[in-house]
C-alpha cells in the first residue's frame, strides 16, 4: 500500500493502529507525504463544503407538497438556506443511514406558552366589553344608560315620569319577585302605589279645602288630570350579586311623597345594565351561551404526542337553560385533542398505537350553581357534569368552577375539568382521562 492509500485510509478512519505508526513515520520523514496529506484534506474539505452548499430549490420542494395535496410548510428547503438545516445523516463521521434521529422519549411534557394566548384574549375582550358597556348599551337600546340619583328629586313636573332605581338587599326576595307574574307579586311596589294614591288623595283634600288663585287652580287642574299609575314597568337586573329593581314611577310635586320615595329608594346604583334583553322576553334571563377553552392539560396516557399550534386548543360551546336560580341544564359540544395508546392486532402482529387525534364531542350538561355559598357577593361556586358522545366512544366530563359575575348578564369562570373517554379497539375498551384547567365566558339572554 502506497503513501497515498495509507493517507486515504487514515482520513477515512479505516487505517489500523500498526499502519498508523507506519504512516506517521512516513509523514515525519517525507515532505511529499505531508503534501499529499494536505492535498487529501483539502479535497475532503472541499467535498464537505460542496455538500453543505446543496440547496433544494423552493419550487421543487413545493411541488412535492402540492402533488400530495399537503400544505407547503415554511420549512428548511423551501426558500430557506440549506446550510442552516440540521440533517441527521449528514457529514458526521460514522453516521449510518439507519436510525438517524431521536426516539420517542422526546415526547414533550413542557408547556407551550402559546396555550395561554386564548386566555389572554378572553380576558382582554372581557375588559374591553366591561369598560365599553355604555357604548354597548347605546348600540343595543339607542338610549343613554339610566343615570339615577340618590339625591332627593325636587320641583319636577307633576306629570313627568322619571325612571328611578331601587336596590333590594335580599337577593332571594328580589329573585322571587322577578320570577312571579306581576299581578301575583306581593312586592313593595304595590304598597308604594297605594301610598302614592293615598298621598295624592290627601293632597286633593288639602288643596280642595282652601281658596285658590289662578295659578293654583291650574296646578289643581293638572293634579286632577293626573291618574295614579300602575307599576307595570318594573324589571329586575342582577348586578354584583344584588337584584336591582328598575321601575317607572311618577314624581309628584309634593314634599311628603318625595320624602317617602327618597327614603325607600335611597340605595341606588349609579349605572345599570340594560333593563331588558334584546331578545324576546320569553328568553329573558333563562338562557346562557357559553364559550370556554382549557390549558395546563395532563392526561393518561400522557403526555400529548403533539404540541400543536394555537388552533390545537380544546374548546367548547354550550347553550344552557336555567331551570331555577341554582339548577341549569344545557347542551355542550366541542373539540379537543385526545391522547390515545392502545394495542391493535394488524395482520396477526400486535401493534402499539400512540396517537392524539382531534375529536369532536357533544353532550348533555347539568350544572348546579351554589348561590348560598357566594364569595364576595358576586362569585358563585358551581359544579357540572356532562354525559357526552364522541365518534370513538362515550365520554364523561365533570367541572368544578368559580363563576364571577360582575355584570348582570356576563360571567367569566375558571375551574378544573376532568374527562374520561372510553373507546373500543377490537372488542377491548381503552380509556383516556384528562385533567385540565378550564376557563371561559358566558352571556345570559
Amino acid at each position: 500500500m502506497n503513501t497515498e492509500h495509507l493517507i486515504h485510509e487514515y482520513l477515512d478512519g479505516t487505517l489500523s493502529s500498526d499502519q498508523q505508526g507506519e504512516l506517521f513515520a512516513m509523514l515525519a520523514a517525507d515532505e511529499m507525504a505531508r503534501e499529499e496529506l494536505t492535498s487529501q484534506i483539502r479535497l475532503q474539505t472541499a467535498l464537505r463544503k460542496d455538500y453543505a452548499a446543496v440547496v433544494v430549490p423552493a419550487d421543487t420542494a413545493a411541488g412535492i407538497f402540492s402533488e400530495l395535496g399537503l400544505p407547503v410548510p415554511g420549512a428548511p428547503g423551501i426558500g430557506a438556506v440549506s446550510g442552516a438545516t440540521t440533517s441527521s445523516s449528514g457529514t458526521v463521521a460514522g453516521a449510518e443511514i439507519a436510525a438517524p434521529v431521536s426516539t420517542v422519549t422526546g415526547a414533550s411534557t413542557s408547556w407551550d406558552y402559546r396555550r395561554i394566548i386564548p386566555l389572554l384574549l378572553l380576558l382582554l375582550s372581557f375588559a374591553v366589553v366591561y369598560s365599553g358597556r355604555d357604548i354597548v348599551h347605546q348600540l343595543l337600546y339607542g338610549t343613554a344608560v339610566v343615570q339615577s340619583t340618590s339625591q332627593q328629586p325636587s320641583q319636577q313636573s307633576s306629570q313627568q315620569l322619571t325612571q328611578q332605581s331601587t336596590i333590594s338587599s335580599s337577593p332571594l326576595q328580589s329573585h322571587l319577585s322577578d320570577r312571579q307574574p306581576l299581578q301575583q307579586r306581593p312586592s313593595q311596589e304595590t304598597s308604594n302605589s297605594e301610598q302614592v294614591v293615598r298621598s295624592y288623595n290627601r293632597l286633593r283634600r288639602t288643596t280642595s279645602g282652601s281658596g285658590h288663585d289662578n295659578a293654583e287652580g291650574t296646578a289643581e287642574k293638572q293634579q286632577e288630570a293626573f291618574t295614579p299609575p300602575v307599576y307595570d314597568v318594573t324589571t329586575t337586573e342582577r348586578f354584583g350579586g344584588y337584584d336591582i329593581v328598575l321601575s317607572s314611577a311618577p314624581t309628584i310635586q309634593s314634599p311628603e311623597i318625595v320624602r317617602q320615595r327618597t327614603t325607600e329608594f335611597s340605595a341606588v346604583t349609579p349605572l345599570a345594565w340594560p333593563a331588558a334583553s334584546p331578545l324576546p322576553m320569553v328568553l329573558d334571563g333563562d338562557f346562557e351561551l357559553i364559550a370556554r377553552s382549557a390549558a395546563f392539560r395532563t392526561s393518561n396516557p400522557e403526555p400529548d404526542l403533539v404540541v400543536g399550534p394555537i388552533m390545537d386548543q380544546p374548546w367548547a360551546l354550550g347553550i344552557h337553560y336555567r331551570l331555577s336560580d341554582d339548577h341549569v341544564l344545557g347542551i355542550d359540544g366541542g373539540m379537543e385533542r385526545l391522547p390515545q395508546e392502545f394495542t391493535r392486532v394488524d395482520f396477526g402482529v400486535p401493534t402499539v398505537y400512540r396517537q392524539a387525534p382531534v375529536i369532536p364531542w357533544v353532550g348533555l350538561t347539568y350544572r348546579l350553581d351554589v348561590n348560598d355559598a357566594r364569595l364576595f357577593s358576586s362569585v358563585v361556586p358551581s359544579a357540572s357534569v356532562t354525559a357526552a358522545w364522541t365518534q370513538i366512544g362515550p365520554m364523561a366530563r365533570a367541572q368544578a368552577l368559580l363563576r364571577f359575575t360582575p355584570e348582570s348578564r356576563m360571567s367569566i369562570f375558571l375551574g378544573v375539568e376532568g374527562s374520561l373517554t372510553a373507546y373500543p379497539i377490537q372488542s377491548t375498551f381503552f380509556t383516556t382521562s384528562i385533567l385540565q384547567v378550564t376557563y371561559g365566558i358566558s352571556y345570559r339572554f
Binding site: D12, T14, I64, V104, G106, A107, Q355
Partner: protein
C-alpha cells in the same frame, strides 16, 4: 412531531392518521437535504435530480400505507427509493450519452469564484463512471459506512473500498490544480 422518531412518524403515514401530513412534513425536514444532495451528485444534472427527488418523497408518502409492518429504518427506505430511481434515470441515459465523452478542463490561470469551484467538483464527478461515482458520493458526501454501502449496492465491502479509493484518486487528480482555491471557501 419534532420529538418523534422516524419510525413513529412513518407510522402516521402507514396508518394514514389525520396527522400523516404533519408527520410527512417532519420526515421531509429531516431527510430532504441529504436526499437531494445524493440525487444531485449521483445524477449530476439538476433537472433530473429534481425529478428524482420529488418522485422519491411522493412515492414514500403514497406507498407508506401499503407497508405491512412498521419501518425501523426510514432513511434507508428513502435511500432505496431514491437509488432505484437514480438507477432508472442512468439506465435510460446510457443509450444516449457515453460517460467516456465527458472531460474536465481546469484553467490554472483562472481565478475561480465559489460557485465555479463547486461546479468544478460536479464536473469532476461527471468524469467518474456511474458505479464509482455512487459509492464515492455515499462515502465521501454522506459518510455512510462501507458495510451499509455494500448492503445498498450489493457489492462486497472490499469492492466498495476499492471503488471509493479509485474515484477519490481520479477526483484528486482532476481538481489538483485548484485544490488550494478551496481554502477560500
Amino acid at each position: 412531531m419534532t420529538t418523534l422518531s422516524d419510525t413513529d412518524l412513518f407510522e402516521h403515514l402507514r396508518m394514514a392518521t389525520p396527522d400523516a401530513g404533519v408527520a410527512f412534513t417532519e420526515l421531509y425536514r429531516r431527510h430532504h437535504h441529504w436526499a437531494y444532495a445524493y440525487c444531485l451528485k449521483v445524477l449530476g444534472r439538476e433537472e433530473e435530480a429534481k425529478d428524482v427527488f420529488q418522485e422519491t418523497f411522493i412515492r414514500v408518502y403514497r406507498t407508506a400505507p401499503q407497508s405491512d409492518n412498521p419501518v425501523t429504518n426510514v432513511a434507508g427506505l428513502i435511500m432505496r427509493v431514491c437509488r432505484n430511481l437514480c438507477l432508472n434515470v442512468q439506465r435510460d441515459r446510457k443509450t444516449t450519452v457515453e460517460i467516456e465523452d465527458v472531460h474536465l478542463v481546469v484553467d490554472t490561470h483562472h481565478h475561480y469564484e465559489k460557485d465555479e469551484l463547486l461546479d468544478l467538483i460536479d464536473a469532476a464527478l461527471d468524469c467518474l463512471d456511474a458505479e464509482d461515482r455512487e459509492v464515492f458520493v455515499l462515502r465521501m458526501y454522506h459518510d455512510i459506512s462501507y458495510d451499509e454501502i455494500a448492503r445498498q449496492t450489493g457489492l462486497t465491502v472490499a469492492a466498495v473500498k476499492n471503488r471509493v479509493w479509485r474515484a477519490k484518486s481520479r477526483i484528486k487528480v482532476l481538481l489538483a490544480p485548484v485544490l488550494s482555491e478551496f481554502d477560500r471557501l
